[in-house]
Amino acid sequence: MTKPVELQLKDSVDLLERMATLEPVANERSSWDCVMLSRQQGRPGAATYISLICDEFFELHGDRTYGDDRAMITGIGMIGGKAVTFIGNRKGTNLRENITCNYGMSNPEGYRKALRAARQAEKFSRPIVCFIDTPGAYPGLGAEERGIGEAIARNLKEFAMIKVPILVFIIGEGGSGGALGIGVGDKLYMLENAVYSVITPEGFASILLRDPSRAKEAAQAMKMTAKDLKRFNIIHDIIKEVPEGAHKDPSFTANIIKKTILRDLAILCAKPPKNLVRYRIRKIRGIGDFEGTESWWNTLLEVFGRTQDLR
């Protein structure tokens, strides 16, 4: 059913007004403001975006080894007539859910569940979309006993070779190895107020600045905002939020995410799987800032030539 013309017009005016104020507000926002916004209670999480983007979604549970980690959501959705596997960190939308979801901090079984979902997607030639929103992997006794390091390491290695397109959206907090554990893909996007870093600003402040109260300063120094990472060429693009932040209008951001997914999948799904993986690895292999080495491109091509799947 279409809306009356007046309402359509009002929607457009609202949107234009929001767009007009977007740039100045975003410019004024400090790194620390982004950290706060990315963590804000009520900021839309993976489950919210999945429900806004998909016509249908069916959640899949469990890692088939130990248990089901509520801090990680995996499942299959239909988006514009196309089946997509979704993998995302889940913080929960209220205090009760926050607790059952461990505030989005996964144990090893969460990463193993994510890998199972990715393998399942690869088997049935279904693209993958990952939503990152976690303070980090859970630093607990059980996580260590069950090999949280091994679980993340395995995902980094396996996701590099998955033969279907992987799109990664950092929607809130991108916390270190726990984020990277579902963060290896072909295209990397960040929401305007999302952050992505090797350690929390609090951790950085207490270790390197030797003063936990200097987190605000640390956030600035660490260069962890979407703009910073775009400038570093780590992410491909920035996904807009309304000026107040994504929590004010989740649909606005969800629409852009959906369009981005459909646009990218139209291109990436057409690529031969071998080329897709080669391109993904080439991008990862090129990250680093140092002096004193010759070009690595030919070496990488030679290595591809020696592999079973990428030659």
Partner: protein, 260 residues
Amino acid sequence: MEATRACPACHQQSPVATWEHSLMVCPHCGHHDRLEAALRIAQIADPGSFREFGADLRSRNPIDLAGYDEKLMQHRKQSSMNEAVVTGNCTIEGELAVVAVMSFDFMGGSMGSVVGEKITQAMFEGALEKKAVIIFTASGGARMQEGIFSLMQMAKSASAAALLEQTVVPLFIVLTHPTTGGVTASFAMLGDVILAEPGALIGFAGPRVIEGTIGQQLPEGFQTAEFQLEKGFVDAIVSRDRLRSTLAFLIRTHKGTCHD
């Protein structure tokens, strides 16, 4: 008077010559003390066989962090190393190998762009030359001073391990004290065989971080090599005097025998 050295674990004094003779293992309690990269290579490689590569790589300051350039300079001067890992080709009991030896003494063995790059190059050298790759880990994790670039080295080294696996060249990991954080959560846990030195601290989150989370002290022996063996994350604990022969055995037994 003969020079002596105290064991950091049992505090007993032993002559320096005895320490060196025992490969920096305490003759009283068996504590495996940290080893400089050069000494490690001398113990593992056949004499005169080691040829270093990647020695000229230097970190830049990718996020323009105040004080990082000076810190790097200071560590280069103090340690006579350029970075936290040394990479090269050698033979071990006549078997060809690529080795990478991390050093905790250089900025806590942390992995920044150069460490990630050298580990990647070592794996590609192994892949192209069909030589087993052996990595001795010792690291506090990712190098925070390089921000997101250090985090991405985890993905980079792990994707190199994926390619190495595809070429059917073995990757052997020797976990030494301490191995934590982003190194544990990347190439350190990706070996075809994973060895550990006795007593080494091996984990993802540091002990103090976990204690902060659970609000109590960690159980005795948590995150040690022995703990990781019990939990199924390392293949064997190998004392330093048997490491060289064990690695040579592993290289010889990972060449494929079925279709000869």
